[in-house]
Symmetry: C2
């Protein structure tokens, strides 16, 4: 049985302010939970309908109806875990860094984290207005990649201003990325879904790049920011 | 005021079987509706809270509360349109064709349609079990691209068996795509989110390709199918 205060704590973690206040975030789904259990992340509580038999004093076996009460999903999985939000790590500027200027869609951020992991990008730097990486929908979309990418929220313009490596930005009117050679040590900035890169951040970009459009009509407005990140990371790493 | 039968018709279009029965699909959002109005698609009815002043006898100005009753969105836009599902067109095999083997997520299909449009791929061929392209969530994700890509549902194995051009398939264990030259006339097959390309379809693939993984851990399981499609289309077209 779950107590009222436990239910209250868990459901509060849907909101960023309570995640920050308590220092916890929620993960659902056996596969992702198992992956996170093997990482450096610290488990706070595991609520599950079928025991994991892990070496965890914090495992609580609950009923399906209890899981339904705490789950953020329409169709709950069989387990929900609460992990501690890890302490901030310093940003390692020795490799390629991806920087996001106000990416708002949780699915897009989750996909971008997964892409960073795939392409060996260790550092993801986000503007303060970028969606919180501990948002449950982001966690869902990362498929465990969140444990392998260091995500830091910063004043993006200040961070880029101090960068000692070239700062590339994705713009519709940038230079054809297929004709460029990318340095291994650099920053790639991707913009907001609707507005692209903001004026402030644009001012500190050293080179504007673009993915050429092949459709013969002018109508294709833009690529989704996660699709564009996929293509640009592939170009940086190929 | 909307009649009960109008409301019933519109809300039924959430389901594929009623879309097929009535031959209609729903589009929400002023921007996408305007884009579709400029295409070959035939408008059946436009329900809007602010008149479009289009040359449409089928424009119906409704209240916000009526829009709320018919909208499929949690936060309704200001307009909802019903378009006729266009007649099937034959598949033009003279260029690059993208083929999907049971892609189930509407957001992924929508993103892939948008990618086809961006990269000038005119033909998207889908297995029968691939999510319906007139699903409202697919339409939402395509941002109008659906009017510029010919989407056909087929028995995928039979279609590929009869293909006269090379059939590439995305596999984890395929050959490094960065070392390949892709013919302009070919088919690129992408698989299901969880299971990849099915055994039946695998049997008719002429060449298996893969996007190399750069992360140093084996843990990154796979790329999202839309991300992988983005990178592979970029490789075919660059």
């Amino acid at each position: 049985m779950l107590s009222k205060s436990q239910i209250k704590l868990i459901t509060s973690l849907k909101q960023k302010k309570y995640r920050q206040q308590h220092g916890f975030f929620v993960v659902e789904g056996v596969k992702t939970i198992k992956e996170l259990l093997q990482s450096d992340l610290e488990l706070y509580k595991l609520y599950t309908t079928e025991t994991f038999n892990i070496d965890a004093k914090n495992e609580v076996v609950i009923s399906n109806s209890d899981l339904k009460r705490i789950s953020f999903l329409v169709t709950p999985n069989t387990a929900l875990a609460i992990f501690k939000i890890p302490n901030k790590k310093s940003i390692d500027t020795s490799g390629l860094i991806v920087a996001l200027d106000d990416v708002r869609d949780p699915g897009n951020l989750g996909t971008i984290i997964r892409l960073c992991d795939w392409f060996g990008v260790k550092e993801l730097v986000c503007s303060k207005k970028t969606v919180d990486c501990y948002n449950p929908k982001v966690i869902q979309a990362t498929m465990g990649s969140i444990t392998r990418v260091n995500i830091t929220y910063v004043d993006l313009m200040l961070f880029l201003e101090e960068s000692k490596t070239p700062v590339f930005g994705a713009f519709m009117e940038g230079k054809n990325v297929y004709n460029k050679t990318m340095p291994k040590q650099s920053v790639l900035v991707m913009g907001n879904e609707a507005n692209g890169i903001s004026k402030d951040v644009e001012a500190v970009i050293t080179e504007k790049i673009a993915i050429p459009r092949f459709g013969d009509l002018q109508a294709t407005e833009s690529l989704n920011v996660a699709s564009a990140t996929a293509i640009l990371l592939s170009e940086f790493k190929r």
